[in-house]
């Protein structure tokens, strides 16, 4: 978490090389017709680990959507159902049993149900936050890279400023400030919306920098120059020539940002400024487990494992996508 997404920036030169919009020359004419996306998929399919993580992520998505059903099938009470009888005479939560496979927390709530529902928060923040960050970053990067000049200077300097802020400290401050009545006159509600806003705010810069770099070099490519000399408008060049060439790297970087953002949400929730209770979030469960973790190991173990496996799956998928995009590297 400490490095934040800076790791991604460093991977950039390793992975990027010059953009290769025409891999066909190297791989045979048959591939020319294929879109880069199809290519990506084809290569990804041969990566068993990445594929396995993709399946795992699919399961997570299903779990998030069908959480009520799963909890029902498991025969455990819902994630916010409190039960004072599930703790001992001193109020200590009881461990795994037939009734509660992952044990209960201090309020007698079922940890299994809370872990399952926690998937929702993690995925919502991971995917939605990353999507918003990617959108903002792409727009900013496109504008800066394509138009250049004072606009580029302004946007690039803005990025420099945002990158100067310590991510976690900024998130913590914003989360605390928006904690009760929300922010921006209530436009950003406390809890999940605030967290998503924080995630988007601290992450768009990475995407913007990468997109800007790509656009800068794409702009000088022959096929763009050709389109320009044929009289294509800027909007058309952006839409038809440049954007499609950004798609594959965007997918990769977004997939690398998702696990970072899941960790960021968990960290903020761990520090007490994340989603609002009683909503179940893995980070928050870990925070609640902290004062009792030496006696109630299950409360620390299961949410932590869920977090670990989810982030691991997204990281493996990101690695796979990265390799698929850059076959030279994949050969290693």
């Amino acid at each position: 978490m400490t490095t934040g997404a800076a790791d991604i920036l460093v991977r950039e030169p390793l992975l990027a090389g010059p953009p290769s919009p025409t891999p066909g020359e190297a791989e045979g004419a048959a591939l020319i017709a294929r879109s880069p996306r199809a290519l990506l998929w084809r290569r990804l399919r041969s990566d068993r680990l990445a594929l396995a993580s993709l399946v795992f992520i699919a399961v997570l998505v299903v779990a998030a959507i069908a959480a009520p059903l799963i909890v029902d099938l498991a025969g455990v009470p819902g994630p916010t159902v409190q039960n004072a009888n599930a703790t001992d005479a001193f109020g200590s939560p009881l461990g795994p049993s037939a009734a509660h496979p992952f044990g209960v927390d201090q309020l007698g709530r079922d940890v299994f149900a809370r872990v399952v529902y926690g998937t929702r928060v993690s995925l919502e923040v991971g995917i939605l936050g990353t999507a918003i960050a990617t959108l903002i970053g792409t727009v900013v990067g496109l504008l800066a890279g394509f138009y250049g000049g004072w606009l580029d200077t302004l946007l690039s300097r803005t990025i420099d400023v945002v990158l100067c802020f310590p991510v976690l400290l900024l998130g913590l401050g914003l989360g605390a400030a928006c904690g009760v009545h929300g922010c921006v006159k209530g436009a950003i509600q406390p809890g999940l919306p605030t967290i998503i806003a924080i995630v988007a705010l601290v992450n768009w810069t990475y995407i913007a920098r990468i997109v800007r770099g790509r656009v800068l070099s794409l702009r000088e490519q022959e096929f763009v120059q050709a389109a320009r000399s044929l009289g294509a408008s800027n909007a058309r060049i952006l839409r038809v020539e440049i954007l499609p060439n950004l798609l594959a790297p965007l997918i990769v970087y977004a997939s690398l940002l998702i696990p970072q953002n899941i960790l960021l949400e968990a960290a903020l929730s761990f520090l007490g400024v994340g989603v609002r209770p009683p909503t179940a979030s893995w980070g928050q469960m870990l925070a609640q487990a902290t004062p009792i973790f030496n006696t109630a190991w299950w409360y620390m173990a299961f949410p932590g494992l869920a977090l670990l496996l989810t982030v691991l799956a997204f990281n493996l998928l990101g690695d796979g996508l990265q390799d698929a995009l850059n076959p030279r590297q994949a050969l290693r």
Partner: protein, 595 residues
């Protein structure tokens, strides 16, 4: 009487009564107490041996929260009191094993009350000295200045108007001399009152504000806003002092905010004028840390105690494995959920009753550590406060919403219907703002309260914020329009039921900022009854009058009761701890010794 005070959580200040505990303390200073009781877990610490113990050694104290003030004029929290009553001496104080019977401290004897309760006169002992760097004898003028500076806006003693407001001239005082406080001689101080409330004032002279301070040293510091007395400089009168340099500066020397505090012996303290034995040579306080970890360090440690409440898991472990190292003090105040009587859905008394009925008080007790640490709260005067039995005792008033501590949805639904929601669920639509504190057990208690609200159909926004933010920003500021504060709590200031009910529930006590009446109760009948009860002197009439007010508060369901608290305290195996019964069972550094 007007109040700007805000009392801390249950952990915060005040005195507790000794319930039906056998007190048996000989006259203070006698030093002849020989009763020895081997403490077992769950047993009350009332029988602790106070005198004739081993002298010397260094006690290490763990405290996961920082102090607020060391200034006797500003402090109003039980945690600060643990240090304050070791470094400064008020006119009267409670010996550690009593919460009812005041002993003269700087005063030489009980006060003389005359003029039908409108004049109170105190003689103070000679040969009490200020600590370094002042080192001169304490006089009545020093006590007068100590109290007068409470009205100085740079000091702003939180309870000044509540308990000293009836002194002639106090209402308009701002730090200068107060007409009603006179010092006819070097060793005599007299208070003239506008109302016959001398007995209330007598109790209030046990608060830290009556501890003498040297004006020549303190006055220049009081010119700062806020005063730097108590935050940078301090002069002791008690057996200990915060370690300081030759100018009396302790900040950065005997106290590092957020890290540590060090108490050393006060060389100018005169033991012949004091009932405190002061066995320890030095007290080193570590601030911060995770309660569960601190608890382990204390239970497995030697010359260590924890100053604040042990974590729930530690209570269990101590009870099961270290039973001689934990004490439980009953009658340590209340926890309740304030319900906004002035704004939002809880203006409706039936909705307030519905919350009362729905709240699972058994679960609340459990989340704090089980029945050793408290009982379900049933009314507002708590065990040990006079008037508690008259107001219904443990069971409380016989009203249906009070009868099922485990929470009764059927009765709750009945009241929601009575409030005008025929479905039995609240359908008003607006979101209810609930603000609680982070950290256990507050967090768990807030969630249990929130759960009850949700079951009644309320759409809630539960925010858990740092305890100080909960106090300073939300629950004490009516303009924030917080509907429910589930972590309200109250401990009495001294042995008088008035100190339990007046400030948190009197309409005149509502303030725009720093408000202690979190529920914003402003019922004309209740207000009037309180003004009358204040003037009722003598037992059992006084207690009876306040018990009657307690009943009115229950009828109006002004807040949702949670817990009558007991306080647990833990010590290392090398410590012979003594608990301050009057201060919620906190360890008393003046009487605690090492084996």
């Amino acid at each position: 009487m007007k109040s700007t005070s805000i009392h801390g959580s249950v952990r915060a200040a005040g005195a507790i009564a000794a319930l039906s505990l056998a007190l048996g303390l000989a006259a203070c200073g006698s030093g002849s107490q020989t009763v020895t009781v081997a403490l077992k877990a769950g047993e009350s610490p009332a029988g602790q041996q106070l005198y004739n113990k081993h002298r010397g050694g260094v006690l290490t104290v763990y405290d996961h929260e920082d102090f607020e003030h060391f200034d006797t004029g500003e402090s109003y929290a039980g945690q600060d009191y643990t240090v304050l009553y070791a470094i400064s001496r008020p006119l009267y104080s409670y010996p550690p094993n009593s919460a009812n019977k005041l002993s003269p401290d700087v005063a030489a004897a009980a006060p003389t009350i005359s003029d039908g309760g409108k004049t109170l006169s105190v003689n103070i002992r000679p040969h009490i000295y200020f600590g370094p760097p002042v080192n001169r004898e304490v006089t009545s003028a020093d006590v007068a200045y100590a109290i007068e500076r409470g009205a100085n806006p740079n000091v702003a003693c939180p309870y000044f108007q509540s308990y000293f407001g009836d002194v002639v001239g106090a209402k308009s005082a701002n730090g200068g001399p107060i007409a009603g406080i006179q010092t006819p001689s070097k060793y005599t101080i007299a208070f003239h009152l506008t109302k016959p409330t001398a007995s209330l004032l007598y109790g209030a002279l046990s608060l830290p504000l009556s501890s003498a301070v040297p004006p020549e040293f303190v006055r220049p510091l009081d010119a700062h806003s806020p005063t730097t007395y108590g935050t940078e400089y301090l002069v002791a009168t008690g057996p200990y002092m915060l370690k300081a340099n030759s100018k009396g500066k302790f900040l950065g020397i005997g106290y590092e905010p957020g890290k540590s505090a060090t108490l050393v012996r006060n060389p100018s303290w005169n033991p012949h004028t004091d009932f405190r034995p002061a066995y320890l040579d030095r007290i080193e306080i570590n601030i911060g840390g995770e309660p569960a970890v601190i608890g382990q360090q204390v239970l497995k440690g030697q010359d260590v105690v924890q100053n604040d409440n042990p974590a729930q898991s530690i209570v269990k472990e101590a009870y099961e494995h270290y039973p001689t190292q934990i004490t439980f003090t009953p009658g340590s105040g209340t926890y309740y959920a304030s319900l906004n009587n002035a704004h939002g859905p809880f203006k409706n008394v039936n909705l307030r009753k519905a919350v009362w009925a729905a709240l699972n008080r058994d679960a609340l007790v459990k989340v704090r550590g089980g029945s050793l640490t408290g009982q379900p709260m049933t009314h507002f005067l708590y065990p040990g406060v006079s008037g508690y039995e008259q107001a219904g005792g443990a069971a409380g008033p016989r009203v249906d919403y009070n009868e099922h501590p485990e929470g009764d949805m059927a009765i709750a639904t009945k009241y929601v219907k009575l409030a005008g929601y025929p479905s039995g669920k609240y359908t008003g639509g607006e979101t209810v703002q609930v603000v609680g504190a982070t950290g256990e057990p507050e967090e768990g208690m807030a969630q249990i309260t929130n759960h009850a609200l949700e079951q009644l159909g309320f759409k809630t926004h539960l925010s858990l914020v740092d305890k100080s933010a909960m106090y300073e920003k939300y629950c004490t500021v009516p303009a924030q329009e917080i509907d429910v504060c589930p972590n309200a709590g109250w401990v009495r200031d001294f042995a008088d039921p008035q100190t339990v009910l007046y400030v948190p529930f009197n309409g005149h006590a509502i303030e725009p900022e720093g408000n202690s009446n979190w529920s914003q109760v402003n019922d004309p009948q209740i207000n009037a009854a309180m003004e009358k009860a204040e003037l009722v002197v003598g037992e059992p009439a006084h207690a009876q009058a306040w018990a009657k007010i307690d009943e009115m508060l229950v009828q109006q369901a002004v807040a949702a009761p949670e817990i009558f608290a007991n306080i647990a305290a833990i010590e290392g195996h090398g410590v012979v701890g003594v608990n301050q019964l009057w201060n919620s069972g906190a360890w008393d550094y003046d009487f605690t010794s090492l084996k």
